[in-house]
Symmetry: C2
Subunit: 453 residues, 2 copies
């Protein structure tokens, strides 16, 4: 019974095996490897594999078992930031691929990298796939959570009791889809970016995209690259303002539709074949009672999360990855390491008032951050703060922040060419290599083709 | 406190305000009108209006609040059976419209009719909209149900306790979507019938439909009517076998896809622009623990439902409308009347063994029913049996069965013309009037145009 010696007396439930949930498992594993006791762990994932958003699916709407589909990724999706900004501090790209690769790999390559790290551990043993968290009750007497799970394959429900609950279910899955007058009679395809599965369907079509953030930018550029007859991006607050090629343009917000014609705030109108809503996502936690729900829009510092992870109303509840993201994988890591050390009792929790003050301080800081560069600085400072509490491998965050700022400029200079740039790893100093083919000419996003020299 | 005098001492929760849930409210209302006591009633509906499947939405995937969308109906959907077969016994089409109408009205007209009856009552007061049943616990000590609801507008959860729970959540909403090799790389639109919103999107496109039941038939015919470049229906078990016009054909099952090319079991292959899966639906009850779940495929007599309504494992749980449907609205009524009288203690429940025997008898009868005509007879007998227990207005069911059989023949003779036929009401003997325009020429399915003389 050697295992028991290395276990603490409490039990942790993790919901979701995307990058955030996996980071939590990895954090505990690294502790265990040092010979320290870790709690009993269970992770439940509704998809049939790990990787979260990076686990591509051809399906839309609901999955095989009728659950709302998690995946929002699509064919021909390439990283939209330099991989050097998201690199794990404890597992570099060079360690994984054995050779330098470019700075903007496609989805399959990033999936492979995520999987590479976690496969080194026995994390899979902790995860039950095809199992969805259905409902959570908090039991105040014992300060525990009763969680109902639904095994989708067996069509069977069961419950588990946990001392801590870690929610890593992502927040780019539940479409925010506003209504525009007349959209109900638009004759062509109407979908949210969540259901977009690649540009092929829109070849030779005139496309209207509503929204002006990453999804609009990337879907617009992809459809241009893959042969749409024209892309119009309609913004609410601000245009993206890139130097667009002929074939992509921006317009103020749609006011309404008549048949296949869209009318815009500037008084113009235009006919379209299809409309894709790139209007972002909702934080949605159908399995949590509303007093345990994180209620926030997409931002850098959601309210009610101490250090961005511990729920203010119930300190046994932990959320990972709920922020809008410049940093991704390594930010989830620093959150998971912090959460781990907190659960292990190494990070003391200040009283409620102090926590509130700390949250307010960060929220105030976010409010004062207005430009892209300031947002990068904000999230860099947030991660620095988290890292200061744990033994997550230190890395040169200022240099990463600089890379993000160069990336912002690269995009400004060339929205079609920025993915041809290369950066240098702050983890192992590897210089990225240029991809064998210019991004605009590269129509194949497979791992095989990518690694082909 | 006059109201209290008229209330029995128990409380009934109804989930869903589609035709089934509304039938339950109507059944109790008709009892109350006679001056008899009724239980306390609460009905919860996740959509923002009643009418269930008949409440059309332009959305696909998930709704405004991120819940899986209920609606599978689409533009230009007309009744696919004579309205005389679904007519309420206590509220005729003529009473509602004040004039004879045709036998195959479009969706909006049927919605208006459903609403017409229920608007005569105070049913709306019992219904809370935009509220989804999230989780049900059965409390064995008190033999009650604790139900967690989620108010989608307020993002607030709350619980209610019920003595009886009536589930009327439908079963044509959760797509059954099998995987075919290569479908993940099909370049055109791929969707389930659930997300089909009308033929416009497929104008001039070559369309492949998989499945060979009502959805395939109707979507195929609609797309043909509205200008698709060709429709191929691919069947697993049996072809529909209609006399198809040039432009619609049937093929055995797809084996796989390569790019935009589909390969069929007969060794042929063909290129398509889009694929619509008409492969039916799953009975799905995410809010029920699995021991209260009805587990069945689409059939005329699902197992574990005594008289098709009372759950065999827990007699306080009632399901309405869970059968495959020839009869619809009036069948839901007879079920609701039966359920009402059972809850009011007027219909005695035999012991478990007797119930089991009764269920087996019906299931055995279904097994012996093979043809469309035999299925009609089966469901006719089922309804006759139900009606014999209650005071639901008797109507000439044999004549309705005959109409169904004529309808089957009408379709065989002319799949494009059967909706031009007219029938006679068994409720008030009204002869339907021919629609002013032949169905194949009628491109406008609005209520306004329909009632225009
Ligand atoms: C279109 C798109 C493109 C992106 N591109 C990039 C990029 O180029 N670079 C980058 O760094 N980031 C990108 N991102 C951000 C991406 O969200 C993160 O990289 C990362 O996937 C977030 O990890 P997560 O674990 O927090 O959430 P997710 O990856 O979303 O994983 C959450 C997991 O929880 C599971 N889950 C949800 N609900 C339940 C439940 N009730 N029960 C059980 N399991 C549940 C899900 O199935 C999923 O596996 C992109 C996001 C989108 C939407
Ligand atoms: C494409 C299509 C065409 C059809 N055409 C015809 C036709 O021509 N003629 C005909 O007679 N029948 C037709 N039908 C059959 C149709 O299903 C029935 O007419 C009828 O709508 C069934 O009524 P119901 O109340 O049982 O289910 P539904 O109409 O499906 O209503 C169920 C209700 O429950 C609600 N609900 C579901 N889950 C929850 C939850 N967790 N919490 C709260 N509320 C919930 C839903 O929002 C919905 O309002 C058609 C069905 C489909 C799919
Ligand atoms: N790897 C890739 O290439 C790639 C591709 C796509 C997405 N992603 C990732 O996916 C995540 C989500 O990005 P996202 O662009 O989908 O969401 P997002 O960044 O949250 O942006 C939402 C957009 O929708 C707009 N919007 C919201 N409500 C609207 C309304 N009612 N009317 C009009 N516009 C409205 C917003 O406009 P306002 O500015 O007015 O609020 C904003 O432009 C990001 O992390 C991104 O990096 C990555
Ligand atoms: N008013 C209208 O015009 C209209 C229009 C559409 C639908 N509806 C209603 O909607 C309801 C549902 O009808 P529906 O046609 O969607 O569902 P359905 O009647 O349950 O039929 C499902 C079909 O999918 C096929 N199928 C299932 N799994 C498959 C697989 N793995 N591979 C290939 N084929 C598969 C079945 O084939 P097998 O025969 O081999 O099992 C069957 O043909 C009905 O009540 C119908 O009346 C009405």
């Amino acid at each position: 019974m050697r295992q028991i010696i290395f276990m603490t007396a409490f039990k942790v439930g993790i919901i979701g095996a995307g990058p955030s949930g996996l980071a939590m498992l990895r954090a505990f594993e690294s502790e265990q490897k040092k010979g320290n006791p870790i709690p009993e762990l269970k992770c439940y994932e509704k998809q049939d594999n790990w990787g979260g958003m990076w686990n591509y699916t051809w399906r839309t709407g609901v999955g095989k078992y009728g659950e709302p589909l998690h995946g929002s990724m699509y064919k021909y999706l390439w990283s939209n930031g330099p991989k050097e900004c998201l690199e794990f501090a404890d597992y570099t790209f060079t360690e994984h691929f054995g050779q330098p690769i470019s700075s903007y790999p496609p989805r399959e390559v990033l999936f492979d990298y995520i999987e590479g790290r976690i496969k080194q551990s026995n994390a899979r043993d902790y995860i039950q796939f095809n199992t969805v968290a259905r409902w959570v009750d908090y039991l105040p007497e014992t300060k525990q959570f009763r969680v109902i799970f639904d095994n989708l394959v067996k069509n069977e429900t069961f419950e588990e009791i946990f001392d801590y609950l870690v929610v890593g279910t992502g927040h780019f899955s539940t479409p925010n889809m506003p209504y525009f007058k007349g959209i109900d009679n638009f004759p062509g395809a109407v979908m949210h970016a969540h259901d977009f599965r690649g540009a092929d369907q829109f070849k030779n079509q005139k496309l209207l995209l509503i929204g002006s953030s990453y999804s609009a930018e990337d879907i617009g550029v992809q459809c241009y690259k893959h042969g749409s007859a024209g892309v119009t991006i309609s913004y609410r607050s601000n245009p993206l303002g890139s130097k667009w090629p002929d074939g992509i343009k921006e317009k103020p917000l749609v006011t309404h539709f008549e048949g296949n014609k869209a009318f815009f705030k500037d008084g113009t109108s235009e006919e379209f074949d299809a409309v894709v809503f790139c209007t972002g996502y909702q934080h949605k936690f159908p399995f949590l009672p509303d007093n345990l729900r994180l209620k926030t829009k997409n931002c850098l510092y959601p309210d009610n999360l101490y250090k961005g992870v511990i729920f203010h109303e119930n300190e046994k509840l932990i959320f990972l990855g709920m922020q809008d993201q410049y940093y991704t994988f390594n930010m989830f890591d620093t959150q998971a390491w912090f959460a781990r050390d907190y659960m292990l009792g190494r990070v003391a929790l200040p009283n409620g008032q102090e926590r509130r003050k700390d949250i307010d301080k960060w929220m105030d800081y976010e409010k004062r951050s207005l430009t892209g560069e300031e947002h990068v600085d904000f999230q860099t400072d947030y991660i620095k703060d988290l890292i200061s509490y744990t033994d997550y491998p230190a890395f040169d965050l200022d240099k990463v922040a600089d890379m993000f700022k160069s990336w912002l400029k690269d995009k400004e200079e060339s929205i079609l060419g920025y993915r041809d740039k290369v950066y240098q790893s702050v983890m192992d100093n590897t210089h990225a290599e240029k991809h064998h083919t210019k991004w605009m000419k590269e129509m194949d996003d497979s791992l095989e083709r990518y690694l082909d020299e």
